[in-house]
C-alpha cells in the first residue's frame, strides 16, 4: 500500500490564503445608526461638564463631590504609554461626555419605547420581548448611556436581588453604592478609571443578597449611538455570602469614521462562598479594512474575592474595537478563593488588542486559572499581558496559565508578556505559551476526508477557541460564535 503523503497542491494553499483574505476583508455587519434625538452635553471636559452630568442625573451632593474628586485626580494623571498599541493622541476636549435619548422612559412597559430603538435591538437579534419570552434572560439595555428598559425586575425583586441602572441605584440604594463603589477599582487606579469616575453616565448595579442563587442570567447590552460620544459605563456587582450570579455583557456598535473612546469600569465583589461569573462578548466597531475609525476600548475590570471559598470567573470573547486595552483581574483575598480568566481575542485588519489578566494571590490556598487564546489576522497585533502575583503570605497558592496564539497570514503579530512574581515557596505556578499557524497537514487531513479548506479552517479555529467558548453561558454561546464568525468569516462555519 502506498502510504506516501503528498503535499497539498498549490491551488489548495492559494485557496486557503484566499479564505484568510476573505476573512480579513469581511465587512462589519452591525454598522448602522439609530436616528434618535439626543440630549447632549457640550463638547469637551471641564469641571462644569462634570457638574452638568451630575445635575442632569439629579445626583446627590456626595456623588457630585466624588466625581469632582476623580476629575481633579485625572487632571494630575498621565495617559499610560506601556501598552503594546499605537494610536494618535486622543483629544479629550473633542468628546461629548454625555448623551441621552431625549424620550422620556416609562419602565416596565415595552410598548412605550421608541420604535426606532426597538428596531435597533431587532437588528441586533436581541429583541427585548423575544428575549423575555423565549430565554428568560432579564435584559437591562443601555443605549448611549441611559438605561432605557429594565425587565424582570419584579421577579428578581421577590428574591431580594437588585438589578437596576447605576443612576437608579444612586437614587434608590445610596448606602450600598457608598459602601461598595470604587472599593475594588479606586478612583485613582489609572488614567481611564479616573476619567470614568468623573464622567460616567450610567451602567448597571447588581446586588445578590445572602444565600440567593440568581435564577437567570443577568445581562446588559451596551451600545454606542450618537456620533462623537464616548461611552463611560460603570458596573458594580456585589454577591453576598453564599450567593451566585452569572452576568452577561455584550456590545455591538454602529459604523463610524471617527474614533470613539470607551472607558468603562467594572467592579465585582464576592463575599464568603459567593460566586460571580462574568461573561463578555465585545464587538465594538473595529474600523474599516484600512484601519480607519473604530472604537478605543480602554476598560478597567477587576473583581475581589473578599470572602472565604469565593469565586470569580471572567470569560471574554473580544472580536471588535480598533484598540482593546483590557485586563479583567481578580484579587484573591479570601482563603480558598478561586479566580478564572478565559479569553478569546480576535484581531483583524489593523486592529490592536492588548489584553490579559492579573491574578493577585493574597489569601491562603488560593487558586487561579488563565486560558487565553489569541487569533491574529490581516495587519493586526494581538498581545497577551498577564500578571500572576503570589504574595508572601499566600500559602499554597496555585496558578495555571496557558496562552496560545494563532497567526493567520504573515503581516500580523502575536505578542506575549506574562509577568510571574512569586514570593512564597509553597506556591505552584505554571505558565505555558505557544504560537503557531494552522498546520498545512491539518488542512490536508481535512481535505483528504472531503472537508473543504474553508470548513477545515473553521473547524480548527473552533477547536482552538473551544476551551473558552465552553465557559460561556448557553444563551451567549450562540451569539459568541456568530461574532467570531463575523470577524473571521470564511474561516468559521
Amino acid at each position: 500500500m502506498n502510504t506516501e503523503i503528498l503535499p497539498p497542491k498549490t491551488s489548495d494553499i492559494e485557496n486557503e490564503l484566499s479564505t484568510i483574505e476573505r476573512a480579513v476583508q469581511n465587512e462589519y455587519k452591525y454598522g448602522f445608526v439609530t436616528d434618535i434625538e439626543a440630549d447632549e452635553a457640550p463638547m469637551g471636559l471641564s469641571e462644569e461638564i462634570v457638574r452638568f452630568i451630575s445635575a442632569k442625573k439629579n445626583e446627590p451632593v456626595w456623588m457630585l463631590e466624588w466625581r469632582l474628586k476623580a476629575y481633579n485626580q485625572w487632571l494630575k494623571m498621565e495617559e499610560p504609554k506601556w501598552a503594546n498599541v499605537k494610536f494618535p493622541p486622543i483629544n479629550y476636549q473633542d468628546i461629548i461626555y454625555y448623551s441621552a435619548p431625549k424620550q422620556k422612559i416609562a419602565p416596565g412597559s415595552l410598548d412605550e419605547i421608541d420604535p426606532e430603538l426597538r428596531r435597533t435591538f431587532e437588528k441586533l437579534g436581541i429583541s427585548l420581548d423575544e428575549q423575555k419570552r423565549l430565554t428568560g434572560v432579564a435584559v437591562d439595555a443601555v443605549i448611549d448611556s441611559v438605561s432605557i428598559s429594565t425587565s424582570f425586575r419584579e421577579q428578581l425583586g421577590e428574591l431580594g436581588i437588585i438589578f437596576c441602572s447605576m443612576s437608579e441605584a444612586i437614587q434608590d440604594h445610596p448606602d450600598l453604592i457608598k459602601k461598595y463603589m470604587s472599593t475594588v477599582v479606586p478612583i485613582t487606579d489609572n488614567y481611564f478609571s479616573a476619567l470614568n469616575s468623573a464622567v460616567f453616565s450610567d451602567g448597571s448595579f447588581c446586588y445578590i443578597p445572602k444565600g440567593v442563587r440568581c435564577p437567570m442570567e443577568l445581562s446588559t447590552y451596551f451600545r454606542i449611538n450618537a456620533e462623537n460620544t464616548g461611552q463611560f459605563e460603570r458596573t458594580l456587582i456585589v454577591a453576598e455570602a453564599g450567593s451566585y450570579v452569572s452576568y452577561l455583557e455584550g456590545c455591538t456598535a454602529p459604523m463610524r469614521d471617527e474614533n470613539q473612546l470607551h472607558a468603562a469600569v467594572v467592579e465585582l465583589i464576592a463575599m464568603d462562598d459567593a460566586e460571580i461569573k462574568y461573561s463578555t462578548v465585545q464587538n465594538w466597531y473595529p474600523g474599516d479594512k484600512n484601519g480607519k475609525g473604530g472604537i478605543y476600548n480602554f476598560v478597567t475590570k477587576r473583581g475581589i474575592c473578599r470572602g472565604k471559598n469565593s469565586k470569580i470567573s471572567w470569560t471574554q470573547v473580544e472580536t471588535g474595537s480598533a484598540i482593546t486595552w483590557k485586563y479583567p483581574s481578580v484579587i484573591l483575598k479570601g482563603d480558598n478563593s478561586t479566580g478564572e480568566f478565559y479569553s478569546v481575542a480576535v484581531t483583524n485588519n489593523y486592529q490592536q488588542a492588548d489584553t490579559g489578566t492579573k491574578m493577585q494571590h493574597l489569601g491562603k490556598n488560593t487558586k487561579s486559572r488563565i486560558v487565553s487564546k489569541g487569533i491574529s489576522a490581516g495587519f493586526s497585533n494581538n498581545s497577551y499581558r498577564g500578571l500572576v502575583h503570589v504574595s508572601k503570605n499566600a500559602v499554597n497558592a496555585r496558578n495555571y496559565s496557558q496562552c496560545d496564539s494563532l497567526l493567520l497570514g504573515d503581516k500580523c503579530g502575536a505578542h506575549t508578556f506574562p509577568y510571574i512574581e512569586v514570593k512564597n515557596n509553597t506556591a505552584v505556578v505554571e505558565h505555558e505559551a505557544t504560537t503557531s499557524k494552522i498546520g498545512e497537514d491539518q488542512i490536508f487531513y481535512c481535505n483528504q476526508r472531503g472537508i473543504d479548506t474553508e470548513t477545515a479552517v473553521a473547524l480548527i479555529i473552533n477547536g482552538f477557541a473551544k476551551e473558552v467558548m465552553n465557559q460561556l453561558p448557553m444563551e451567549f454561546a450562540v451569539e459568541a460564535q456568530k461574532l467570531l464568525a463575523i470577524s473571521l468569516e470564511g474561516s468559521v462555519g
Binding site: 515557596n425 505556578v429 505554571e430 499557524k437
Partner: protein
C-alpha cells in the same frame, strides 16, 4: 554619584590619557547617550526587578590600568584545566597581557586599541558597539563610554584552537571601591571553532562592581561554546552583557552558571542574522543569602529557518531573588523559525522570590514558538519516596536539587569545568559524597 558630572570627570580624564587609539569617537558618542539616559531605575521596564541604581550610591575608582596581582592570588583564582588552556586576564577591567598565556597558535589576541588600528580595524569598526542597538540603557552606554583596555580575540579561518580560552575578570578591591569595565570583541572566522570560559573574582572587601560587555561575531559555518561561571564574593556586583551576532549560518552554545554575587545581572543577546542559525542557551542560578540574580535573554530571529532553544533553571534559597526575562523576537521575514524557551524555578525557603517574564513577540506566521515557566518547591512525593527508602531528609533534598540542576550542568562540555561547578554545588548542598560521573 548618580549625577552625570561624576562620570564626566572620569570620562574627561580617560579621553586625555587615551587620545590615539581611535576609540575616542565611540566613547564620546556613548557618553552622550549615557548623559541622556542616565542609570536605569526600577521604572525602566528592563530593570523593573533589579535596583541597579542602588549600586551607584557610592564612590568608585575607574581604573585605567591593570594593577599587579601576586602569583598566590592567581593560583587561587585559576580554574581547573588551566594548565592546558589559553588564559586571558582582565584586572580591574583592563586586559593584562603580562599574565596571559596563549597556547594555541590559531588564536590571535591583542589589545582592542591595537586591533582598531591594524588589519582588523575593519572588523572592530563594524562590530564594536553593536550591542547598544539592543541595550538602550545607561549601563551599556557606561561601558562603551569607557572603552579602554579591552581585548580583541580572533580565531582564524578554518581553525579550531585545541585548548579552550579561559577569561578571568579580577577586581582588586583591597584598598578602594572599584568599578571595573572589561570589554572584549571576539571574532570567530568562517569555519572556525572555539570554546570560551569566563569567570569573575573579587579580591578584598571594598565595593566591587563589574560592568562587562563582550561582543561575539560568529561567521559562516563557525561554532562557539561560551561558558560563564559566576561565583564571586557576596559583596561583588556585576552587569554582564554577552552580545552574540550570528552573521553567517552558524552554531552557538552558551551556558550561564550564577552561583554567588550581590546583584548579578546578565544580558545575553543572540542575534540571528543569517538563515539556518542554531543557538542553545542554558542557564542555572543557584543563589543563597540575600543575593539577587537577573538573567535577561534576547533571541532575535532576523532570518528564516533558525532554531533556538533556551533552558534556564533556578534554585533560590534563604532570601535570594531570581529574575528571568526571556525575549524571543521573530521578524516578519523569519519564517520557519523554531524558538523554544523554558524557565523552571524551585524556591527552597520562605524568603526566596522569583520574578519571571517570558516574552514572545512574533510577526511571522509559519513558525513554531513556545515558552513555559514554572515556579514551585521541591516535589513532596519525590522526597517521600527517598525518605521511605531510608535516605535522610537533607540528603534527599540535596539529591533532588542536584537532579534538577543536572539538566543544565550536563551541557557544560569541558569536563574540568563541569567537575568544578559540580563540586561547588555539592559543597553548597553539603552533599556528603562529591558527585561525579560514576555516581550519576
Amino acid at each position: 554619584m548618580n549625577s552625570i558630572e561624576y562620570f564626566k570627570e572620569h570620562f574627561d580624564q580617560l579621553q586625555l590619557i587615551d587620545k590615539q587609539s581611535g576609540l575616542e569617537s565611540i566613547r564620546q558618542r556613548s557618553f552622550i547617550e549615557l548623559a541622556e539616559k542616565g542609570i536605569p531605575t526600577v521604572r525602566n521596564e528592563e530593570w523593573k526587578y533589579t535596583r541597579i541604581s542602588s549600586l551607584f550610591n557610592k564612590e568608585y575608582d575607574f581604573p585605567v590600568d591593570a594593577v599587579e596581582v601576586s602569583e598566590n592570588d592567581l593560583k587561587a583564582i585559576r580554574l581547573p584545566g588551566h594548565e592546558e588552556a589559553n588564559e586571558l586576564f582582565f584586572i580591574n577591567g583592563n586586559f593584562s597581557p603580562v599574565y596571559s598565556n596563549i597556547r594555541s597558535a590559531d588564536l590571535i589576541t591583542m589589545p582592542l586599541e591595537v586591533a582598531a588600528k591594524n588589519e582588523y580595524s575593519e572588523i572592530v569598526k563594524k562590530h564594536l558597539g553593536h550591542s547598544s542597538h539592543y541595550l538602550k540603557d545607561g549601563i551599556n552606554a557606561l561601558n562603551t563610554a569607557f572603552v579602554h583596555g579591552g581585548v580583541f580575540i580572533h580565531v582564524q579561518k578554518g581553525k579550531a584552537p585545541e585548548h579552550p580560552v579561559y577569561i578571568y575578570n579580577i577586581t582588586d578591591a583591597r584598598s578602594v571601591n572599584i568599578l571595573a569595565q572589561p570589554r572584549s570583541l571576539v571574532h570567530i572566522s568562517k569555519n572556525a571553532q572555539v570554546q570560551i570560559v569566563e569567570t569573575y573574582t573579587t579580591l578584598g572587601t571594598s565595593a566591587s562592581f563589574t560592568n562587562q560587555v563582550m561582543e561575539i561575531i560568529v561567521e559562516q559555518d563557525a561554532m562557539v561554546e561560551y561558558y560563564k561561571i559566576q561565583n564571586d564574593a557576596s559583596h561583588a556586583s556585576q552587569v554582564s552583557t554577552t552580545h552574540i551576532r550570528q552573521v553567517g549560518k552558524s552554531f552557538t552554545h552558551t551556558v550561564t552558571i550564577s552561583l554567588n554575587g550581590d546583584i548579578v545581572r546578565n544580558n545575553l543577546n543572540v542575534i540571528m542574522e543569517a538563515d539556518h542559525c542554531e543557538a542553545h542557551l542554558y542557564g542555572l542560578y543557584f543563589q543563597s543569602g540575600k543575593t539577587h540574580v537577573d538573567n535577561h535573554t534576547v533571541v532575535d530571529n532576523k532570518s528564516p529557518h533558525c532554531l533556538s532553544n533556551q533552558l534556564y533553571k533556578g534554585i533560590l534559597n534563604d532570601d535570594a531573588t531570581g529574575v528571568f526575562n526571556g525575549k524571543i523576537f521573530v521578524r516578519q521575514v523569519a519564517q520557519k523559525t523554531n524558538a523554544y524557551q523554558s524557565n523552571k524555578n524551585i524556591l527552597l525557603s520562605e524568603g526566596a522570590t522569583v520574578n519571571a517574564k517570558p516574552q514572545l513577540e512574533i510577526f511571522a506566521d509559519d513558525v513554531k514558538c513556545s515558552h513555559g515557566c514554572t515556579v514551585g518547591k521541591l516535589d513532596e512525593e519525590g522526597l517521600f519516596y527517598l525518605r521511605s527508602r531510608g535516605v535522610s531528609e537533607k540528603m534527599a533534598r540535596a539529591l533532588l536539587v542536584q537532579a534538577f540542576a543536572v539538566d543544565v550542568l550536563e551541557h557544560i562540555k569541558p569536563t574540568a569545568i563541569r567537575h568544578y561547578v559540580d563540586q561547588i554545588i555539592s559543597q553548597r548542598l553539603e552533599f556528603p559524597i562529591p558527585l561525579d560521573e560514576d555516581l550519576i
